[in-house]
């Protein structure tokens, strides 16, 4: 069974060393900026989003996940020329949703991670579309197939990345 109900007592909450909390988001931002320059279509990936989802589903604490998502999102806004807050809002929402689901879903399963990441990538695109198209009036064209490919790519890479990040955490009961 891929999805199953669990509680904080059944699956222990995970924590990370403080340096990981700082280094990993910065690494995600830097690699996203650098590799998009050299690899065509690397911008399909959203490494800051994957890091936000991972922290949220492993911490299972909506408040901290919201704040972490906000900080990562605003930092990502800083690299663009858009107004600060677009990615901040979207990643705050995704962090909150992922942490809330992480309490109820077994997030240790790779299949569950795949589906969650796929869904959260689509959810972020929807939030961005609402913000940019309807709130800020910026040009935005919704390309369904493109968004599905993007979500699938992020889901596959997310499963691999999450497995790597699992190596850095320590379990607390």
């Amino acid at each position: 069974m891929v999805l199953m109900a669990s509680s904080r007592h059944e699956v222990g909450a995970k924590s990370f060393p403080l340096v990981i909390y700082i280094v990993v988001p910065l690494l995600a931002l830097g690699l996203q900026s650098l590799l998009s320059l050299h690899l065509t279509r690397f911008d399909l990936l959203d490494l800051p989003l994957l890091v936000t989802i991972y922290y949220a589903i492993t911490q299972r604490e909506p408040v901290s996940a919201t704040l972490v998502g906000t900080v990562i999102g605003i930092a990502q806004d800083g690299l663009t020329h858009h107004a600060l807050g677009i990615f901040g809002i979207s990643k705050a929402v995704i962090g909150y949703m992922a942490a809330s689901l992480g309490v109820r879903v077994d997030t240790e399963n790779h299949g569950a991670r795949l589906l969650l990441t796929f869904g959260f990538t689509l959810a972020q695109t929807f939030v961005l579309w609402m913000l940019e198209r309807h709130m800020l009036g910026q040009p935005w064209a919704w390309h369904g197939l493109h968004e599905l490919v993007r979500a699938a790519t992020n889901a596959v890479v997310g499963v691999i990345l999450f497995a790597l990040l699992d190596l850095t955490r320590r379990t607390e009961y």
């Binding site: 910065l26 320059l37 605003i74 800083g78 690299l79 809002i89 705050a92 909150y96 961005l128 935005w140």
Partner: protein, 440 residues
């Protein structure tokens, strides 16, 4: 009340965070010019983020460049000799092309000066390395490793030797953001080279640059070059932008968008040039290049012309720039033979106009006197067919087809004349053909 906050703590924190960010967005969007560089706190946050992210990027970029340089400079040198030979032949061919284009450039400058056209020349550029991007599809922004400390300011054009890239937006101390022409919020004034249709270039939602909202025109063909028009007061006029890829009708209305394939490879940029200074007078280096090109053209023509002077031949006894001959007399043209039976229509048989009286017939004595004075003191030839025109009249008189022969514009370019240059026969230097200052 306490239980309410503790019960809905998570949702309340989320709402508070979202409301705070929405208010921040609203403040930013309500600026008078949303496209202008950021100020205040927004600029500070952006500066922090860029300051944290860019040093590792610079390090990684520098490391990768070093490895590539090691490979290309010391290891991968297999076809260098052959490539060098090909490049030399290509250089020779380009020199000949340059010579032919230099004359067109000078002519264009003369015409621009006549029209009072104000040209923008690139004075100074700063080379910069591209070290990163925004990393998202929604924002086509580059990060370069030059900032305000290097003289970069907002809204400076960024180019490559192939074509334009974009303009600087937010400038920090050591880095700058460059907004690419493929971004949906960018804008550049462009002109189609052949059809001279003007428009505004910007990116679509896919990042494809396109000239928006043009009237349908059958003359717009695929492959037509697109240049900057200079109308946006950012990009100098005449820089390459790209070529027309296809014409796409707008979903609503009757206008069309012209998709443009950028001349610069926007997806693989490593080094760019930031134009930090422009001016209306031609820079000294460009003037020198033009003069050198002119001299090279004269050398090539001298090599090819059959009338090339023999260096071993004796010196010219009567050079063109000498006002008189060796005997002190003006060089005389060949005179026509004298008429056996002169009449009123014989050339040089009419008395000077000062001696004529209105209503009085010309007598044979007057004619003979006039003829005698003509034959006794021959006049130099009229220069109407030999003097080159050095200035273009505002309204040139129409000429019959047979009389439209172009005068020799380069009499001073032969080797003999190079040895004794005549100032009046030299073409004007480029500095004299620059557009007038302050012309509209």
């Amino acid at each position: 009340m306490e239980s309410f906050f503790s019960r809905y703590r998570n949702a309340l924190v989320l709402i508070a965070v979202l409301v705070a960010q929405v208010i921040g967005l609203a403040v930013q969007v309500r600026q008078p010019d949303p496209d202008a560089p950021d100020k205040g706190g927004v600029r500070l946050i952006r500066s922090w983020v860029v300051g944290i992210v860019t040093p590792p990027e610079m390090l990684l970029h520098g490391t990768g460049k070093g490895i590539r340089g090691l490979w290309s400079n010391y290891i991968d040198l297999i076809h260098v000799r052959r490539e060098n030979k090909d490049l030399k032949s290509e250089l020779d061919r380009l020199r000949l092309e340059e010579d032919s284009m230099a004359e067109n450039a000078r002519q264009g400058q003369r015409l621009q000066a006549l029209l009072g056209f104000k040209e923008k020349y690139v004075y100074q550029t700063v080379a910069a390395q591209v070290i990163g991007t925004s990393g998202t599809e929604q924002s086509h922004v580059l990060l370069i490793d030059k900032g305000s400390q290097d003289g970069i300011k907002p809204d400076m054009p960024v180019i490559t030797p192939d074509g334009i890239v974009g303009k600087t937006r937010d400038v920090f101390r050591h880095t700058s953001q460059v907004l690419e022409i493929s971004d949906a919020t960018s804008g550049a004034g462009v002109i189609l080279e052949t059809t001279r249709i003007r428009g505004v270039l910007r990116g679509d939602t896919w990042g494809q640059p396109e000239i928006v909202s043009l009237s349908p025109d059958d003359r717009i063909q695929r492959g037509e070059p697109v240049l900057t028009s200079g109308g946006d007061a950012i990009y100098p006029r005449g820089l390459a932008v790209g070529i027309v890829e296809r014409v796409v009708p707008q979903p609503e209305g009757t206008l069309v968008n012209v998709q443009v394939k950028p001349a610069a490879n926007l997806s693989r940029l490593e080094e760019v040039l930031v134009i930090t200074s422009t001016g209306e007078a031609m820079p000294d280096e460009m003037q020198q290049d033009l003069t050198d090109t002119q001299q090279k053209a004269s050398d090539i023509l001298a090599e090819k012309l059959p009338s090339r002077a023999d260096p071993n031949a004796p010196a010219d006894q009567q050079p063109d720039d000498a006002p008189t001959g060796p005997d002190g007399e003006v060089a005389r043209p060949v005179q026509p033979p004298k008429a056996l039976h002169p009449d009123h229509f014989t050339p040089s048989d009419t008395p000077p106009a000062a001696e004529l009286v209105p209503g009085q017939r010309i007598t044979n004595a007057q004619s003979s006197a006039a003829a005698g004075s003509e034959s006794g003191a021959p006049q130099p030839p009229k220069p109407e067919t030999t003097t080159p025109q050095t200035s273009t009249p505002a309204r040139p008189a129409p000429k019959p087809p047979g009389a439209a022969a172009k005068p020799k514009s380069k009499p001073a370019t032969t080797p003999g004349n190079q040895q004794n240059p005549a100032p009046a026969q030299q073409p004007p230097p480029p500095a004299q053909t620059t557009p007038p200052q302050g012309a509209a």
